[in-house]
Symmetry: C2
Subunit: 139 residues, 2 copies
Amino acid sequence: MAIHALTMLARWDRSLTSAEIAESLASNPVLVRRILGSLRDAGLVSSTEGRGGGWSLARGAREITLYDAYTAVEAGPILSRHAHPPSDACEVGRHMQNLLETEFRDAEQVMQERLGRTTIAHLVQQVLAAERGAAPANH
Amino acid sequence: MAIHALTMLARWDRSLTSAEIAESLASNPVLVRRILGSLRDAGLVSSTEGRGGGWSLARGAREITLYDAYTAVEAGPILSRHAHPPSDACEVGRHMQNLLETEFRDAEQVMQERLGRTTIAHLVQQVLAAERGAAPANH
DNA sequence: TCGAACTGCAACTAGATTAGTTGCGGTTCG
DNA sequence: CGAACCGCAACTAATCTAGTTGCAGTTCGA
């Protein structure tokens, strides 16, 4: 939802209301405000209150990656850790948490790097290209 | 939990009961059987019933990666998709699902590749090394 | 041949999380 | 002043997960 909203803001390059974004998401304005609120806290978008208000990008679409959006809305780790520490009495249990922490952090990082290589601008470009393809120019 | 269990089986290279594994996990036997059941369905471990029964690896620890364990127990995608399809009336909404599917699949794949490069044998090795380090040889 | 020690499985509970909703207060602008 | 916005808290409903209980089936050894 965050990426979808960011892409909309970049596509039309004007202030959009949470109601407009919610419509495209087939969702509801409060939910959109919640998510965009996180994006604002992360410095990706800004909002203005009152009549005529709405949301817009706080920086260029080329300077916002999917990773930025990801970390803004998703708090914790992706790979689930042990819910509670394993037994210290077991040779394996004693070290598992540390080992997994290292492995998982590594794995999460390569994924984040991949997300960091796609920008919102890139998505807008692909949306426009798809539109041209689907509805070829009227001569 | 799956990785922890696999590592235990590899470490001692003998049949372990779900109760033994559960103790190290500070969890409970039924839960362990549920997880090892998935690993068995994936061909990573085998179980024998009855007295003296238990679980053991179905192939060498060097031939089991964290990715194998991961896919055996985690069904769906990691990155959450749109809960329901966005509006078709919106230029962005029309294409977002496809675009994100591509991006997310890519991102998930690099993570899976990373998980596929660590084997259970590697973890056992690290556990043993850590044990040597923590409790240096008695002369 | 009985009984202890196992796995297998279904049904249930409790808690956490998530999408979605409602309601209200504050801000801006015409 | 009032319409059109955002901000926020409180609530609901659905889903997911860990954990539990209970019982049936299997195996082996005394």
